[in-house]
């Protein structure tokens, strides 16, 4: 008698707890599974685009453009959910189970992590034209109006007394491009003497007063909180700040910079699960259309279509010497290992 009552109490305890917990989260979980019912043939379809920080404005406009296009083309409404954050963080969330249909990230390396995890099929780089980079950008300097410290090129910003703002290459895609651009400049200047390159970068990062975790954070630190003399920024980010505060800043293009190719890819595993292969692929393909390319130009990304790029020659400095990651650094895998892995060059320059 006593024994059964203990048992039944234990059972009751277990039941209440389990009920509470499952109730707490399965109750509201059911909503999302409707996504799986997406079919390309259905009246409407929903996709998720996981992107990085500075593309917010671009995709806000592009999504409208694509929605109109797709409805005209297929008679189907597309609902697009956007997610933005630091490029590495965003890639990681997809890797951990954030079910993006497409990723539009800052680095080929970040997309490649998803391939390594088996979410994206091999050969994704060649799935879309121009290495799957519909628009490109580069790294420029944003300085305060009148350029009071007279910063023209990379040598100027390593001088003592200059305060530099750039995000942390460990967590930000943009910051890696910054680092590599500076390295490329030093490498050219010192004729390939890597010890001197390292000293150059050491001097540069000794001037850095804030290493934000993402490109947007760095811009806010420089623009809104008034920190630093120069911000190493994406070209599009610099022009955007200029547009918002035309009287406070100037954009300076250094003599040499890097061709930044933000990568786009369809997340194969997820689109198969959601049944959104066709629309996801079209979503990225349409980024190469003339209308979209112009939109990218208006948002200060360099269109990959050379004819349309020329239409924006008054905005962009097209004479800048651009190195690129494949020819000059042997691709992202090598660059990451050499510069940004734990204990690699970036860590070394911070050691005393």
């Amino acid at each position: 008698m006593k024994r059964t009552s203990i048992l039944s109490r234990k059972a009751l305890a277990l039941a209440i707890t389990l009920g509470l917990i499952t109730g707490a989260f399965t109750g509201c979980a059911s909503k999302d599974s409707s996504l799986a019912a997406n079919k390309d043939s259905a009246k409407s379809v929903a996709i998720t685009n996981v992107s990085y920080d500075p593309t917010r404005e671009l995709y806000e406009q592009y999504n409208k453009l694509f929605q109109t296009y797709w409805e005209k083309e297929k008679g189907q409404k597309v609902e697009i959910t956007q997610s933005h954050g630091g490029s590495g963080k965003q890639a990681r969330s997809v890797l951990e189970g954030n079910e993006a249909d497409v990723v539009t990230l800052a680095l080929e390396g970040d997309v490649d992590e998803l391939r390594k995890a088996g979410l994206i099929e091999d050969g994704w780089v060649n799935e879309f034209p121009k290495n799957s980079a519909p628009y490109t950008s580069t790294i420029v300097f944003l300085v305060r109006k009148g350029n009071p410290k007279n910063l023209k090129d990379w040598d100027d910003i390593v001088k003592s007394g200059v305060e530099v703002i750039t995000p942390d290459p460990k967590s930000s895609g943009g910051a890696r491009w910054n680092f590599l651009a500076a390295w490329a400049f030093a490498n050219k200047k010192f004729g390939g003497d890597e010890a001197k390159d390292k000293d150059f970068l050491k001097a540069l990062y000794a001037n850095v007063s804030v290493l934000d975790s993402g490109a947007r954070g760095a811009t806010t630190t420089f623009v809104e909180n008034g920190q630093g003399d120069v911000l190493l920024a994406w070209e599009n980010e610099a022009f955007l700040s200029l547009k918002e505060h035309p009287d406070d800043f100037e954009v300076v293009t250094p003599s040499l910079s890097i061709l930044a190719q933000p990568s786009v890819a369809v997340v194969d595993t997820n689109v198969k699960k959601h049944g959104t292969e066709e629309v996801s692929k079209a979503y990225l393909e349409y980024l190469y259309s003339d209308e979209a390319q112009r939109l990218e130009g208006q948002n200060f990304y360099r269109p990959s279509n050379p004819d349309i790029l020329k239409e924006f020659s008054s905005t962009f400095n097209l004479d800048i010497e651009l190195v690129n990651i494949d020819d000059d650094f042997g691709g992202w895998a090598k660059a990451t290992e050499k510069f940004f892995a734990d204990g690699a060059i970036f860590d070394e320059i911070y050691k005393k």
């Binding site: 509201c28 917010r56 959910t81 997610s83 954050g85 951990e96 189970g97 954030n98």
Partner: protein, 269 residues
Amino acid sequence: MKEKIVKVILILLGGAFLIIMLVLPLATVLVYALRQGFETFSKAITDEYAVKALHLTLLATGITVIVNTIFGVFAAWTIAKFRFRGKQALTTLIDIPFSISPIIAGLVFILVFGRIGWAYPLLEAWDIKIVFAVPGIVLATIFVTFPFVSRELIPLMQAQGSDEEEAAALMGAGGFRIFFKVTLPHIKWGLLYGVILCTARSLGEFGAVSVVSGHLRGKTNTLPLHVEILFNEFKLTAAFSVSSILVLIAVIILILRNIVEYRVKREER
């Protein structure tokens, strides 16, 4: 006379500390929220995504408070009314979420339910999504505020002793009856206080939720995350406007807390 000077100095010091550390940051939020006029402010807070984020925040807070209150009452009952080995360890384990970095709190759920987690194949088989969906946000919020109610109740119930409960039990009353008739009247204000704090903390949780959210606009963005997004969109004014809703809710909650405390003190008299 000297005593009076000391008093004034102490009050001024304390007041200055609170003004610099608490009131000014709060004032910053409100001033920035309204610096572009009321129209920008109301536009920011009635924005579709802001409203959706508010709904999600309220949903997560509601579930969290219910779960943690139930847990808190049972845990306090166990710890305060009975003697057993390992009580110290149990109390410490319950308190753990309190001192764990929110980052780690979020990370552990990724390590369980994420694509790399050990429970993932199971979830996949049943087609359940936990992290990067609403349940993950709820779960992370529950974790972070787990000890809030129990920590409030345990000292109160211990102080109360268990004589009355024992008497009731000897007269043949059942457990739930004893709780509702004997214990609850003594602890109701403490319980309410715990619930209020738990609510306040749930509304504002940022770190842990940020790790498990995935930042899907209109789907898994809570209000604090929405603030961060607006901040990152250079919409500083909008960010502060949305923050001011959170500040407002916080202030209302704290006023409630004050009323509760006032009633407790009056009852004690």
